[in-house]
């Protein structure tokens, strides 16, 4: 009987959840950015970079592009690390993927040129 109950429950859940794939893959981001904000130490920075790389290379989700903000924030971390050219490249990538970010990101880029 338990089996039937479980099956019914699972069936109902499956119907009500519609199993739609999310627009983006954010896997691992929440914990990585949490650790970075909390400690900001070397290890948390390296881990966050690893997650950014993963989210950009294995975009997943239905849109198959990196989630909003990822390239820009990654670029910001790179600039903080002194890797300006990689940082600028990533910031520019954000504006290509998401034109809505252009005004804001261009302001940051202009500042870097000074």
């Amino acid at each position: 009987m338990t089996k039937y109950l479980l099956m019914t429950a699972l069936g109902i859940i499956a119907i009500s959840c519609k199993t739609t794939k999310p627009l983006y893959n954010w896997k691992g981001y929440d914990d990585a950015v949490y650790a970075y904000t909390k400690t900001g130490d070397e290890k948390s920075v390296e881990n966050l970079i690893k997650i950014y790389e993963k989210l950009i290379k294995k975009s997943g989700g239905t849109r198959q592009v990196p989630p909003p903000g990822i390239c820009a924030d990654y670029g910001y971390i790179m600039i903080k690390k002194g890797e300006n050219s990689k940082g600028i490249e990533l910031l520019t990538k954000e504006t290509v993927l998401y034109p809505e970010s252009k005004q804001f990101v261009d302001r940051i880029l202009k500042r870097l040129e000074k």
């Binding site: 983006y24 949490y34 849109r63 909003p68 903000g69 910001y76 809505e100 970010s101």
Partner: protein, 224 residues
């Protein structure tokens, strides 16, 4: 046995039909449908809880649920840096003011304010409770586009009585029983009611769906 199955079915149906008297999304979020905002700047949360570090730790988890609903949220780490530079770290000073200047500065359609009303972990009652208010304001008209309050309590020993809620509850509990995890669930639950944004295939197609009540409250159970 049949009886139990029927009972389970009825309970689930009742749970999912609770919102039948609610207005459709196109009525509840009329301004949002007419303005069609795409880009959002999240302001640093206003913290009314006793947990001091809640503000920064919670901030970066805000963008995920909005993006999953089709919106563009300004990069959180970069935004926080600029907001601090512009002395805009204290959102309390801006929440009642005009959003037009912020819109011009950041090039965004809307500004998100969040107020953390409660953020607590009590070991005596073995529960975590977060209560968060979300307020999205237009930078074009200063109108309120979305305003919802979510309250989530995670209890380690009480059954919520709902299969769905229990399953999510156990997912949360197995992940790690930190306030931040409950905070994230609160974001996902509460923000899921927002009409779909430009990047969602449901954009401008969900107006007839029922909206949820303004205050969202649930108790999750740590069921393992």
């Amino acid at each position: 046995m049949k009886k139990i199955v029927y009972f389970a079915l009825i309970v689930t149906l009742l749970a999912s039909c609770k919102a039948t008297k609610m207005p459709t999304k196109s009525v509840a979020y009329k301004t949002l449908y007419s303005e069609k905002p795409i880009s959002i700047l999240a302001m640093p949360p206003i913290n009314r809880s006793t947990k001091v570090e809640a503000k920064e730790l919670f901030y970066s988890s805000l963008s995920v649920p909005f993006t999953l609903n089709g919106y563009y949220v300004m990069p959180p780490l970069l935004s926080m840096e600029i907001l601090k530079e512009e002395s805009a770290y204290d959102s309390e000073m801006f929440i009642n003011g005009s959003m037009i200047k912020v819109g011009e500065l950041f090039g965004v359609d809307a500004v998100l304010f969040t107020t953390i009303h409660e953020w607590s972990k009590t070991s005596v009652a073995s529960q975590i409770r977060v209560k968060i208010e979300y307020l999205l304001k237009s930078t074009k008209t200063n109108e309120i586009l979305f305003n919802r309050v979510g309250q989530i309590t995670l209890q380690t020993s009480v059954n919520s009585g709902s299969i769905l809620v229990n399953i999510v509850g156990s997912m949360v509990a197995t992940a790690l029983t930190k306030e931040i995890v409950v905070g994230r669930s609160c974001n996902i639950y509460t923000i899921s009611d927002i009409p779909a944004g430009k990047y969602s295939p449901m954009f401008m197609k969900d107006g007839e769906a029922k909206s949820q009540p303004k205050e969202f409250k649930t108790v999750l159970k740590n069921s393992y």
